[in-house]
Symmetry: D2
Subunit: 399 residues, 4 copies
C-alpha cells in the first residue's frame, strides 16, 4: 500500500487561509538538526503555505534554548504535553527517540495536530499498529500524518520512481538493496543507546535496512508477501561507562523479499562495512532496463535502457540537477549539486503542500507500518533459521 | 600573493562585542540567492559572531521585497548609497553584476564597511586595480575585504591544499585544470548579457577559467610568471530579442601557465562541452603523489601517495565527510554529503571570523587582482597568436 | 580445505627432464577456445616446462580438424579413449560438458594422466565425489589434478588474497559476492542445453554462483559451515526448436554462508540482471580494511586501509599492472591491461609448474568438491523454504 | 588525409592464393613482443589469409634465438638485408628503433615487401618524408605499407569513430586529448636511449603525444591547420652508467590544434604524471553529443546523446564487448574484456586483409607523416614562445 509521492508541480498555488501554520518540533539531536534545516530553508526555495517555526521542545531547558537559537525556533518548551494544548500549534514534528513515538504521536493526533513523525514509527510492531490506528482515526477528521522516510525525496530516487512508473525498465524482476555503514567497524567504538534492544528496538535492521526496504516498496509500488531473514552481531561487547557491556542488537542483517508481482529483492544492511560511510545502494533490474544508484553520490542516477541497440547500451550517469528533475527546478543551475540535508527540505515541502491541499501526505503511517511488519518478519525468520515467513496481506482500506 | 585560508578551528570562541554586525546585500539574482543561503544558515552550524541580515538592496522595489521575504532579509532598499550611510550596517555583500563592482565596492570601503565582493573583482583590469587600491587603503583603517572565490571553501579542495602544503605530493610539477560547462552547447540558446563583452567582460575565460586559475594559485600557493593563451567563439550569433545578435565573448579558452616554482599548469574552460554540466576538474601531479577532483562530485578527493609500495599505489577516493575534514565537523555524520551552496556558507563563516578577529580575510582583493592579471594576459596572448606573455611580479607589500 | 595458489616466483627455473609434456584437450567450444589460448601463449610469457599441444579431441572429425588448425593443435582424434592409451600424452585438459566429466576424468586419472578439469567437477554431487576419490588415489601415484576455477588467476584477485593473507584488512567479518549477467534478460532468448536440469545440473547457481563461492573460499582461506539458499526462475518457458519449452534450471540464486571463522558471506547470482554483461563483484570487509573488485574491470583492485588516519582513508584503485603484481611481471609495462583470457594462461602456467615440481596444483578436486557441496546445500535449503542447512565438515586428509 | 579503417566484416572470405605469406619481423624488444603476440594469435580468432611467422631478425644471435623460440618464429637471422633478399618473405614487420626505420623500410619497400612499420615513421621529418615517398612509389607497384598506430584498433575507439562518422555527436567543436604516464616521475629513474634526442627524436611528444594526435585525426577524419605548442623537461639530469647525464628530450608537451573544420583540440602528454600509469584520455564534444574514453579502461566507451530529453541525458558507459562492436565478434561472449595487446592483433588482421585484397591498409605512411608534421610544428612553436604555426596543407594525391 505504498502511496505515491510524485511531487506536486513546483509552481502550484499554495496560499493558506488565515494565520500561518504554527510548527512545534520535539527533539533536537541529529534528526532535529536535519529537520530544522528543512523548516528554516523550505520557503526560500519552494512555494509553500505560510508557517512559523514556533516552539522547540526538549527536556533540558538550557540545551533546548541553545538549540532553538541555532536552529531558528522562536520559543522553547520542556513539556510536550503543554505544547499540544496550544491553539497556535498546527503541526508537530516528532524527532524524539523511537521509544517515545507512540505516546507523543497518538497524543498529538488526538489533539488534532498534523504529525510528521521521524522513522521508525515505533520500536515495536504493537506500538506501530496503535500509532497507525490513531492516524487513521485522525485522518477521518482531516488531521494528516506522515512518516519520515526522507530518502523518498532524494531527487535521483524520485526520478528513478518516475522512470519505473513509466515502464522504462519494464517488469521488474530482481532488486538488490544494500545499506552499508562502518561506524561500528572499530570494535572499540563505545556502547550507546543505539546498541541496546530496549532503547533502539533493533540495530542495522531497524535503523538502515528499514530505509532500504522502504525504497524497494517506493520504487516498485509493490507489496512484500514473503520474507527470509538473518541477523548477526559481530562485536558482542563494547566499552560502556562501566566496562564492557553487551550489545543486544544486530550489526548486520540480510533478507530476501518476495514481492506480490513476483519480483525478488535482496536486502543487506551493515554498520561494520569498513570503508562505507553511508552507502545506500539500490539496483533494480527489469526486463527492459535497469536502475542503479548510491546515496554517497546522491545527485546521480544510473539508468540503462535495454531497448536501445546493443551496440549503444550502457548505464548512463544522469546528473540529477536539471530543472526537469524532481525538486531541482527550485535550486541552482544545472550541475550544482545539493546535499543530503535537502531530502528533509523536500519532505517538509511535500508535507506542507499536502496539509494545505487537505490530502494525505506520503508516505503514510500505513506505509511506515508496512515496513515494520517486514522488519518483524525478518526477525521472525532469523529466529527460525532463516525459513521463509509469509506476510499477511496488508489490511485494505475503504479508500 | 595567495593568502592562506586554512579555516580557524571550528571550536574557536568568537564572541563579538556589542551589537550584532549588520549586513546589507546588494543584488539578489543567482549569486544573491546563494549568498543569502549562507547568511541564513551559517550560524546554525558554525560558531560565528552575532550578525543580522538587515537589508537587501535591489532596483525594483516589488521584486526586492519578494526576494527579501524568501531569503530572510528584514528590510529592503532600492538605493545602495543610502544604505552605505547607515551606522547599523557593518558589512556589505556585493552580488551585483561585474560592471557595478568598482563603484559600489569603492564607496562601501570608503564608508568603512567590510566588503564581501563576488568575483570577478571587476570587468576590466583598470577597475580591478582601483578596487584593490581602495581595499588596501581601507585595510589600513581596519576595514576588511574579501573576494568571493567560493570554491576555496569546498572541503575537498581545502583538504587538497592541506595535503599539498604538508608536502604529501612533494614538489608539484604539472597541473591540469579544466572547467567544463555545456549551457551554450545548443546553438539556439538565446543571447544574454553574459555573451556581450561590454556587460560581461569576457566569456568562459572570466566566468569559469577564473575559478580554475584561482584554484591553481590556491592549491599551489604559487605565482604565475608566464602565460600562453587562446580563446575561441564557436557560435558567433545567437537569437536575441530582435533577431540574431553577435556574441562578443569567448565560448572556450585555453592557457598554459608557468609558475614561479617551475611548475606548469594547463587551463581549459568551455561552455560548449556537451554533457558537462558544471565540471571543474583539477589534477595536481607532484614528485611524491597526486591529487584529483571534480566539482560534480565535490564531496570527494582523489589522492595518490607515490611513496607507498608500488604494489599498493592507487588513487584513493576520500569521501570528505569526516569530522577531521575541513568544515565538516559542523555538519552531519560521516557519509552524509553537503551541497554546492555550502561553499558560500563556509565563505561567510571565514569572512565573519576574520572580521571578528581583526585579520584580513582570504582570498584578498590582491588575490582577485592577481587572477585578473592572468586573465588579461591570456587575452593578450590570444591576441598575439598565443605567444607567451611575461607577467610582471605582483607588487609586494610591506606585510 | 582451500589450498593456496600464491604463484611460484616468475623466475623459477622449471626445466623438465626428457621429452616435452604431451597435452591432449577434449572439447573445443567456448572453454576449449579459452584453454587453447592459454596453451598457445603460456610459454611466450612464462618460464614453464616444455610441452606440446598434441591432440585435440572432439566428436565431429571435420569440425575438430578446423578447430585444431585455428587453435594450434597438431593432431585430432574423435575418440578420447584411444587418446588416453597413448604414451606420449601426459596431460589431459577436459573442456567437455559437465555430464561427461566423471567418465573422462576418472579414466584419465586411472590412465596416469595429469588432469586439468574445467569446472564444475560434475553435474551431480555423487559424481563429483567419485571424481575426487579418483584424484586422491591418483595423487598417491604422483598423478596430479586441478579444477579450473580460472578467476583465482585474475591478478587483482591474487593480489586481494595476498593482502588478506598478510592481515591488511584484519579479521574478515562480512563478504558480499555477486555474479551478475544478463544474457537471459530477454524473455525471447532461446532454449539451450544450459537451461535444462538434466544437461546443465543447475542454472546461475552452478554456472556462476559457483565462481563467486569459490572466490569466497579462495580469498578467505576458510570453510563454510552453514547455508541458507534460494533460487528462482523468472522466465519459465523459452522458445525451442519445437515451440516453447520448459526451463528447468534457476535464473537467479541467493545464499548466505556462515564461515568457520564467524564471517558471513552473501552470494547472489543472476543471468537476468539487465545491463550487467559479466560482472563478478566481490567485497570483503575486515576490521582493519576492505577489498572490492568487479570482473568487468578485472585489472583493478580497490583496497581500503582503515588503519590510515580517517582524514586520508578511501578506497584506492590499484591498477594491477605493475611488475610487483601477481603474474604481471611477465606481461607489458605498467598500465597496459590484460584480458579475461589470460586467467587461463596463468592457470596453465601454475598447473605446469606444479606438475613439474611434483606438487598438487591448486585448486584441487577437493576444493572443487567443496564448492559443489555448498551448491548442493543451497539447493537443499531452497527446497526447504530457505532454512539454514549445516554443512558437515570436509573430510580431513592425512596431509 | 586520414584514411578510414572501418574493419572489413569479420566473416569476409579471405582465402589467399598459393603459398602462405612469409613474414619477417625485425626487432624483438617491447614492440616485437607485442607484434609477435598478434602474429601468433590472429588466425585463431580472425579469418585471415594464410601466413607463416618465418624469420625473426636481431643483432645478437643468442638473444634472437631465445626470442624466436618464445614468440613463435621458425627461424632467426642477424642481418636484415639478407632477409630482404629472400623470395619466401612477403611481409616485413619493422619493430626496430626509430633511427633505423628509414634505412630498413625503404630497402624493404624497394625489395617489394609489404611493410608494417611501428610508429613513429622516423625520428626526423626529413626521413619520414623519404619513407613516405618510398611507400608511394611501392604502392604503385602493388606493394603495401602501414604505420602502427595500434590504438586505432582499440574496439572502443573504433566504435567512437563509427558513432562520430554517423553524426551521433553532431559537429565536433572541442577535443581534449591527454596521454599521461608516470614512469619518469621518479627523478632517480635512470637514463635511457629514450631520453636522448639523437636516439629518440623527442620525448613524451613523439612517443605518446603522437598517439593522442593520431587519435584526433582518426576520430574526426580532419586535418590540422594551425598549431601552438610547448614542451618542458622537469628532470634535466638523470643517473646514467657514468654518473648524471643530460636529458635532452621533453618530459611533457602541450599543444592546441586548429582543425580544418573549425574544431579546436588540446593535447597534453606527460611521463611525469604521478599515478597515471598509461592513461590515454580522449574527450570529443560535438553539438549533439560527446564521447569520452580512457585507455586504462580500454574496453569502455562513454557516449552522451544530447538529443535525448534533458531529464535522461548522461554519459553512458558502453562495455565494448558485444558481438556488434568492432572486432569483438571474434572474441569472447559479452562482458569478457580483452587486453591491450590485441590492438596489435587487430592491426595485423586488418593489414593482412588489405594485402590480400590488394588495397592500401590504413593508417598509411601519409597518415604517419601527417602526425609527424604536426609534431614538428609543436616543436617549432615551442621554440617560438608558443606562437601559432600554420601548417601547409598536406599534398593531395591522385587517389
Amino acid at each position: 500500500m505504498t502511496t505515491a509521492n510524485t511531487p506536486p508541480p513546483a509552481t502550484a498555488g499554495t496560499s493558506h487561509d488565515g494565520a500561518p501554520l504554527g510548527v512545534a518540533m520535539i527533539g533536537y539531536a541529529f534528526m532535529g538538526k536535519a529537520h530544522s534545516n528543512g523548516w528554516r530553508n523550505v520557503a526560500s526555495y519552494f512555494d509553500v503555505p505560510a508557517f512559523e517555526q514556533k516552539v522547540l521542545v526538549g527536556r533540558g531547558a538550557a540545551a533546548v534554548s541553545e538549540a532553538a537559537a541555532k536552529y531558528g525556533w522562536k520559543e522553547t518548551a520542556t513539556d510536550w504535553r503543554t505544547v499540544l494544548e496550544r491553539d497556535d500549534i498546527h503541526i508537530v514534528d516528532i524527532c524524539a527517540p523511537g521509544w517515545m513515538h507512540a505516546e507523543i504521536a497518538i497524543a498529538a493526533l488526538e489533539a488534532g495536530k498534523h504529525v510528521l513523525l521521524e522513522k521508525p514509527l515505533a520500536n515495536t510492531l504493537a506500538e506501530a499498529e496503535e500509532i497507525t490506528a490513531a492516524a487513521r482515526a485522525a485522518r477521518a477528521k482531516g488531521v494528516q500524518s506522515m512518516v519520515g522516510f526522507n530518502y523518498r525525496r532524494v531527487p535521483a530516487l524520485a526520478l528513478a520512481r518516475e522512470l519505473i512508473n513509466e515502464g522504462r525498465i519494464g517488469n521488474v524482476r530482481q532488486v538488490r538493496a544494500a545499506y552499508l555503514q562502518d561506524w561500528l567497524a572499530d570494535a572499540s567504538a563505545p556502547m550507546t543507546w543505539r546498541l541496546r534492544k530496549e532503547s533502539a528496538g533493533s540495530g542495522a535492521l531497524g535503523d538502515i535496512a528499514s530505509h532500504a526496504i522502504d525504497q524497494v516498496l517506493f520504487l516498485l509500488g509493490d507489496q512484500v508477501t514473503e520474507v527470509s531473514g538473518r541477523t548477526h552481531t559481530f562485536v558482542n561487547r563494547r566499552p560502556g561507562a562501566e566496562g564492557l557491556e553487551d550489545v543486544t542488537v544486530d550489526d548486520a542483517a540480510w533478507a530476501t523479499l518476495t514481492l506480490a508481482s513476483g519480483a525478488i529483492a535482496s536486502v543487506e544492511a551493515s554498520r561494520v562495512a569498513t570503508g562505507r560511510a553511508n552507502s545506500l545502494q539500490l539496483e533494480v533490474y527489469g526486463d527492459k532496463g535497469a536502475i542503479r544508484l548510491d546515496l554517497e553520490n546522491l545527485n546521480e542516477l544510473n539508468f540503462l535502457d535495454a531497448t536501445a541497440p546493443a551496440r549503444e547500451q550502457g548505464f548512463r550517469r544522469i546528473l540529477v540537477t536539471e530543472p526537469d528533475h524532481p525538486y531541482m527546478g527550485a535550486w541552482w543551475p544545472q550541475g550544482h549539486i545539493i546535499g543530503w540535508e535537502h531530502t528533509f527540505t523536500h519532505q517538509i515541502r511535500d508535507f506542507l503542500l499536502a496539509i494545505d491541499g487537505g490530502t494525505q501526505p506520503s508516505p503514510s503511517f500505513e506505509d511506515g507500518l508496512e515496513v515494520q511488519r517486514i522488519l518483524a518478519a525478518v526477525e521472525e525468520s532469523a529466529a527460525a533459521k532463516s525459513a521463509l515467513i509469509q506476510l499477511a496481506a496488508a489490511p485494505t482500506e475503504g479508500a
